[in-house]
Amino acid sequence: MPKDTGIGASMKRREDVRFLTGRGVYTDDLALHGQTYAVFVRSTVAHGRIKSIDTSKAAAMPGVLAVFTGEDFKDVGGNPAGWLINSRDGTPMREPKRPVLAHGKVRHVGDAYAAVVAETYAQAKDAAEQLAADSVIEELPAIIDMKAAVADPSNRVHDEIPDNLCFDWGWIEDNRAAVDAAMKAAPHVVTLELVNNRLVPNAMEPRASIGEYNPGTGDYKLTTTSQNPHLTRLLVAAFVLGIPENKLTVVAPDVGGGFGSKIYHYGEEALVLAAAKKLARPVRWTAERSESFLTDAHGRDHVTKIELGCTKDGQILAIRTETLANVGAYLSNFSTATPTFLHGTLMAGPYKVPHVYVNVKTVFTNTAPVDAYRGAGRPEATFSLERVIDKMCRELNLDPFEVRRKNLLTPDQFPYTTPVGLVYDTGNYHATLDKAMQIADVAGFEKRAAESKKRGKLRGMGLSTWIEACGIAPSHLVGVLGSRVGLYDAATVRVNATGNISVMTGAHSHGQGHETVFAQIVAEKLGIPESSVEIVHGDTSKIPFGMGSYGSRSLAVCGTAMAKAVDKIIAKGKKIAAHMLEASEGDITFENGKFQVAGTDKAKTFGEIAFSAYVPHNYPLETLEPGLEETAFYDPANFTYPAGAYICEVEVDPDTGKVDVVAFHCADDFGNVMNPMVVEGQVHGGVGQGIGQALCEFTAYDENGQLLTGSYMDYPMPRAEDVPFYNVDYSCQTPCTHNPLGVKGCGEAGAIGSPPAVVNAVIDALHRGGHTHVTHIDMPVSPSRVWSAING
């Protein structure tokens, strides 16, 4: 019987009551007394020198309260990169300053170089238009193509960086010679050049920020669309504006999706705070959709050459990759970690590969900054690897399922140290592969293909066996890898006198369902109903600390901190119970919400203990503090390693090149599952985004750096009709060995594992249709690209 409450129950999401009835409260919903409106003046050229900005006319326009330019922020700090990466030669990466407003130069279309604050939005907009007309910007040649950027030392995004190179990273540099030798000795080498297409995150809610300042106390408040308010507070306070951390509160209320793009601190947040201080009035800004396209940190954008050395029967011997990774015009907060430690470390996949070497050159261009986007680095690694393995199978005429079976790690090999620096703790990759093949009815494929053929369609099947490292992250490890922050988390469990509970967590839910799932865990551990547990998140004034939600870390890291805080509550409860029941602490058991003297019927309920903690009349006050509130910080010992096997079936219309995903099967190992319905939802969303990347989405800049796909007229988002009903299985569970819940994380899996499954299926369909000259099609595998590949 499936449970209907507690851990493992598919409880409906309590947050959906407010989301689905229009009662969510997002940043733009807040109306503040005396509020004013900020509008940004954004560069219309990709690269230009700011010659002059005449603010006088704009400043004199009706309703205008203040005008800001880069000049006003030239003495404050820049928005920093969170990871320091060293090049192969040991030199540190180049780190240009990322100012609040562009100063001296503008570096991408959309780069804000001035801002206007006015009484109304329309007045601010009018004045911004005037300010743009009164600005003289000398256009410089745009640097868009990565290969050209590194080849031409004369044209520079940042004047002080000669070859537009941020770093040239080798992983692991010491292994390079051995990998080269293994590649040379390999009986067969497969080479594939591919592009991992740049994506615009397109969260449903655009970015929005409100700054407030109280001149009476000197307190600042930033309400903003953030996935991690504490990190934003740290960046704004310590690095950019120099506000004491204790004078700044950051609140991220309901947030309508982020997918990574709302991890980072953006200049608009600093501006509304600085403006609020200057005016002593609230200053608000909400991005228009076109601003989101131009300025949200984009994702992916890798150009990769991957080589795979193998035996003729498909045993992988060596893997070597060379990647150009676009970071855009400035370093966003995680931008240097994404193409390196979230990418290179995954290049062995779930396979036993003795030799792996990864080279990544990270390049500045006159485009929007690029940073982590759902999956972040791991989709890029998985795509390269799963595509090249598919190509190997075709070149050597091998069965892709058998080849995976031959190379996958086996359960007896854990813990397994990869040649790219990770230690996989546990897994059973053969089990998920078998499960996927079973639920996909691989055996029945030929029959389905024959039926498709009758309708003039080419049917193909694609496989991807993926792994990721998430539960970000063990601080000691990421510290060695260059992280400038720790990546532990924290939670406070506050038991109120009446026995109900507030849990303050450092995770931030912007669609994931934490408010439901976290409550299920706490309720089960304490033997109380879920309705007695409230999950509080997104407010630095209420929460002890936290690094937010991304990298599939919320449950594995924040959830573990919460579970540990609950354990402390139980431990203290036992002390109180021992006193009240006149027994020794060691004899007290806690089960189903009852503290009991073992072997007797003497017991106190959880509620009675809570009451006693707050009304300590019969209480060991000499040895124990009153109250029942505990905080735990948790730093994971290792990453978690979800893995799985995805099988995609497509039908290709050879006349138009249109691809329909007709079936998608997922067999995932997420370790223990807390709420199956929420897990399925996460997989659905992730696979949907992966299909979007594989079939629809792309970001095009022209040679002048104009964003050609800057609206939904040209940026193809996947729609319901583009995705099938997913077949999701998570029954193969190898619990994580180093967190008490045994959980691994499921938020990014779908977006990581699915793109290669889709593309492999398309190539399979074309080969079955006789178009065997097609060895690869870059994403998105759009109708026109497929048709051109068939006819090219």
Binding site: T656, S782, P783, S788
Partner: protein
């Protein structure tokens, strides 16, 4: 958006008067005009809504065929034209999304004459008559290139009269982002012959494919097209498809439209 005045006349004559004012512009469903104004790319001083004029609303049979009021939303055409001209109803029902279909109108669509819009193909393939506040214009004379029509200053569409073909179908291949027509083909078979109009593909907007019309007039079957080819010169080439790709789609979709027409 800049400030503007708003007028909502209830007769064609009053609308004509209002539109004579300096900087006045017609507003129908607003699905194109309002976003353009929001982006500050259009700044009319007076918006004259045509949606309050009774004679410009609705679908009915009359002289010369099916009369569709210019201010009739797509959703209404999708429903009410079905009994008379199913292919036209299908086309209307495949435009945009429910919100767009509830507001967007045939008059706005053919006045705007977006090269990727659906309606121009139906108007041209049907040999329809575009009725304005001043005159009647044959479809063949009405469409004059990208976003260009025979409409003169102060002239606006009041209705469109569609002769009813014996058989017809519209097949649209979606542009992957906007879901307008990357290419769309409307085929209409009349006693006098077959008309084939192509939207989304041509550099000069909607056009008739004369070769296919000849072949299909002789033999109304998809196989009649097999020997034909479409010259990519003159086809649109953009992010979503090359000229060669569109030329291929023209042929493929024409064949599918013929098959769908039955």
């Amino acid at each position: 958006m800049h400030n503007f005045d708003f007028a909502k006349p209830s007769t064609i004559a009053d609308a004509a008067k209002a539109l004579a004012a300096d900087g006045a512009q017609a507003l129908s469903g607003g699905q194109t005009l309002i976003p353009t104004m929001k982006q500050r790319l259009a700044q009319p001083t007076v918006l004259v809504s045509l949606t309050g004029i009774k004679e410009m609303q609705g679908v009915c049979m009359g002289d010369g065929g099916l009369h569709v009021g210019a201010a009739t939303p797509h959703a209404v055409v999708a429903k009410e034209a079905r009994a008379h001209y199913p292919a036209l109803a299908d086309l209307a029902g495949g435009i945009g999304d429910p919100a767009v279909r509830s507001r967007g109108t045939i008059g706005g669509s053919i006045a705007n004459n977006d090269p990727a819009a659906c309606y121009p193909s139906a108007v041209l393939a049907s040999g329809a008559t575009v009725v304005t506040n001043k005159r009647k214009i044959a479809a063949d004379d009405y469409f004059q290139g990208l976003f260009t029509t025979a409409l003169e200053d102060g002239e606006f569409v009041t209705s469109v009269i569609f002769p009813i073909p014996q058989k017809a179908a519209y097949v649209k291949f979606n542009q992957p982002a906007s879901r307008f027509a990357l290419t769309g083909v409307f085929v209409a078979k009349f006693a006098s012959g077959v008309r084939v109009a192509v939207t989304g593909a041509g550099n000069d907007g909607v056009f008739r494919w004369a070769e296919a019309e000849r072949a299909l007039s002789a033999d109304f079957s998809a196989s009649a097209l097999s020997g034909l080819s479409v010259d990519p010169a003159g086809m649109i080439s953009d992010l979503h498809g090359s000229a060669a790709y569109r030329a291929n789609l023209v042929k493929v979709l024409t064949g599918r439209a013929v098959t769908a027409a039955g």
